[in-house]
Symmetry: C2
Subunit: 506 residues, 2 copies
């Protein structure tokens, strides 16, 4: 029995072929949501203690396309992406200072001022890259009550213990009856060998244990009362609490960056099972891969980690120029989300040209005239089927883009008069761009295609260059010089070349 066909009325016929690369099984599996046409999807959001980095942008772009495609297929998606505003410690484990608390201390701010500032920045960056807001964007501090309740349940079930006001998850105990490490492929004894006992962690029965609740020391700015101490929740807990609160104890898709697979997601699974029983909480786990720059891992310490803003303005030593947000979006979608993606100037410039080609054809499409004796749609329907096949193959956006390039060739042939299409054919092409380029890939026609002022400016420049060429042809040097001088005043540089006159704006 095919669960998706039971709701076929609302779903695209292509929905039944969607396959997801499930990190849990390490296989591509056919997508069968628990309760179609409803889909629950949870994605780990940012810890809002600093400006968003490009790795975040890639991760959230990946799940933006997943979200857009599921909606396109007719699913009713509840997409939850959280904001971590407490509990994420500088050591990324159970030691160190709270990341937000530390920033607040350094900048002499209230922690929630830090949260607000970087949440605003995060939202601004998401908007610039046309990443849709999720259905719900819950915060860790907004779910203290629920986190305490979940800890109580885990203790009750025997998988956690209190020590000096803190509560730890008992990994060894859990592993006796569950497969701890299933998602990340880690083996508990190997983990044991890699782990060192850390300062202040002697409260733990075992170094593998992780905090569910930490007693706040005097320097800790954010804390709440609990049955165990005035303290704060462990980092992993919030995602278990907020995903199940809004999506149920078992839900369809959980996403996040590859670096969260262990320990964060492994701990989430353990917490959910420790609280709610042995069923796998998440059916499909998806993980987005990392960024590299000129072949090396992007990181602040390597000095090769530019920000979204630097990428757009070109204001970084590794960047030859700025790249528009649409170019960056398009560039990222040219790589499959599960593979690493390498930033380099040639690759970004190629993406810029590719996007221009796509947008150019998309622009031409609006004016194509049908011819009833022209070619009909069959070949074009095949293009559409290939587009679905690409997306159904674990959201393979690079293959989808190749399909769109094939459509570009058709458009250009028609525009050049080398091919004629009937109305059905033209409509099929238009729907292909509108569904796959606009709705699913989230590309915006006007940005690189140049409508509005940019187009007009170029048009006016062409008029002026024509007049200047004529003046030169007529040996009217006074007019030619006047034109050059006036343009210089306006911040326009012109350059005569083999292929005519080109221009750049300051």
């Amino acid at each position: 029995m095919d669960s998706t066909t039971t709701a076929a009325g609302t779903l695209s016929p292509f929905a039944k072929d969607l396959h997801l690369g499930n990190s849990l099984s390490r296989e591509k599996e056919r997508f069968e949501p628990y309760n179609p046409p409803y889909v629950g999807m949870y994605v780990c959001g940012p810890t809002v203690y600093s400006n968003v980095h490009l790795g975040n942008v890639r991760t959230f772009l990946t799940f933006d396309v997943v979200y857009r495609y599921l909606i396109h297929l007719g699913y009713k998606v509840r997409y939850v992406r959280n904001i971590t505003d407490v509990g994420h410690l500088t050591g990324d484990t159970d030691d160190g200072e709270d990341k937000i608390g530390k920033k607040a201390r350094l900048e002499n701010l209230e922690p929630m001022e830090v949260v607000q500032r970087y949440t605003n920045d995060f939202h601004d960056v998401m908007r610039v890259f046309r990443i849709l807001p999720p259905s719900i964007e819950p915060t860790a501090t907004g779910h203290i009550v629920e986190q305490i309740a979940m800890i109580e349940k885990i203790i009750e079930n025997g998988f956690a213990y209190e020590a000096n006001g803190s509560v730890y998850f008992d990994v060894r105990k859990f592993a006796e009856s569950h497969h701890y490490g299933e998602l990340s492929g880690r083996k508990i004894d190997e983990l044991q060998n890699q782990t060192r006992a850390l300062d202040g962690q002697d409260e733990k029965r075992d170094p593998l244990d992780f905090a569910l609740w930490k007693k706040a020391d005097a320097s800790h700015l954010m804390h709440w009362p609990s049955p165990w101490s005035e303290g704060f929740p462990g980092w992993h807990l919030e995602c278990s609490v907020m995903s199940t609160k809004y999506l149920g104890r078992t839900f369809d898709i959980h996403g996040g960056g590859m670096d969260l697979k262990f320990p964060h997601h492994e701990c989430e699974i353990a917490q959910n099972m420790g609280a709610h029983g042995p069923e796998q909480p998440v059916r499909y786990w998806l993980h987005g891969n990392m960024l590299t720059v000129n072949g090396r891992k992007m990181s602040k310490s390597e000095g090769n980690g530019f920000t979204p803003e630097e990428l757009i303005t070109g204001n970084h030593k590794l960047l030859e120029k700025g790249y528009s947000p649409m170019t960056v979006r398009f560039f990222m979608l040219q790589g499959h989300y599960a593979g690493t993606l390498d930033f380099s100037n040639p690759a970004l410039q190629a993406a810029e040209k590719g996007l221009e080609r796509l947008m150019g054809a998309w622009g031409l499409l609006a004016d194509l005239k049908p011819c009833e004796s022209g070619e009909a749609a069959p070949d074009l329907a095949a293009l559409r089927a290939r587009a679905y096949a690409a997306m159904n193959d674990d959201f393979n956006t690079p293959v989808l883009i190749a399909v769109l390039y094939d459509a570009v060739k058709v458009v250009n042939s028609v525009a050049a008069g080398r091919m004629v299409l009937n109305a059905e054919g033209i409509d099929t092409l238009r729907a292909l761009f509108s569904d796959f380029a606009a709705d699913i890939l989230g590309l915006e026609q006007e940005v690189a295609g140049g409508a509005g002022d940019g187009d007009r400016t170029d048009g006016l420049m062409e008029v002026i260059c024509t007049l200047r060429s004529e003046a030169k042809a007529n040996k009217d040097w006074a007019t030619a010089d006047l034109i050059r001088d006036r343009l210089t005043e306006l911040g326009v540089q012109i350059k005569d070349g083999k292929d005519g006159t080109s221009w750049t704006f300051d």
Copy 2:
């Protein structure tokens, strides 16, 4: 002892003259913050169960200008503006359904999906009107723990009682030792006569009592555990909790719409005193007044309540055309916040013209050339002093705008060659616009003034018109016609008039 002068190093000398219309004393009082240069300001934000209405925009614009002016004076402002995402009932008192829960039920959504949708809308509208984000934007659901703690304190102090799992504030008991009604000017016995016992309120000892915690009935979607019941906090409580958590038990400014004065703000004061003791929690209460349309109260039921979007697009039967967000902002600032403001087409169109005049002069200012024998600054310094005097008089933005219009006259005189200014004079004018029009009123120069691409387009058009005039002078009709044709293709219409050639874009 003048408290502001103790921190004179960081504060503008004009700071000491700022006076606020304090709703609590019903007088204009000199502003003396508790701990200068720090200022704490709390403003009641929206209940996010529907799209933002224009009354909200006016209220938040009012406090945006207060915030901007305090920052301009050198104060370090922590501005807290909350999001109400639970507890606000349809009856605006203690009866009815939760506004967000009701919307969720009607639209078959999770309540937090409703919250997210309308929080996004709210942020979008704030951005469109250039209303700055606050320092902290806390939510009611994010402070359940703190609300429970405050209720416990009020009960402990004898000003609240439990009944069937709900907790009510004991107004009569409070009034024995406190002045209940001081802010709103209500008398407790008159209130008594106006109040009817309502269904399901028989738990209250007195109809004046209000809920701090309500036991959730089966239909209630949002609820949390508490010492009294699985339930939810009363509407008034969140603001007492979040203002004091982030600003301290006594803080400087509390703002909100006039309609919140009673019961909401009166109850806030009672709660704060009931929990923390007899000191007034807020030194200055500011209340923004309501909107009218063609002289009648703006309301949905009257059919005269257009949305911000309708106002911008002009898509409403009462609107002759759309008005840009900057025009609306400017229009609203032409009225003092404490008075009602009437929307009408003639008034909006007058504001549009007024803003154009202001922006036109502001644009000219960039190119004014000084003349060292020109007039010096004294008269202009007086303008600046008048600008401060206007803002210091309870943020009197209409008077400030009149001062800016006087500056416009000076700019236009200089630009027309009827007056010359020295460099100091020009700098004084520029600083006046940059401080008061841009930073304090939050007006944006480019909207009506046209910088960027628009400027370049105009520059190129001037070059082309010059070339066309020359062609015509040389009787080179072919070139003149070519220019006109090419411009028509680009959607540019040109028109020859007495004062030269003008152009319009499609």
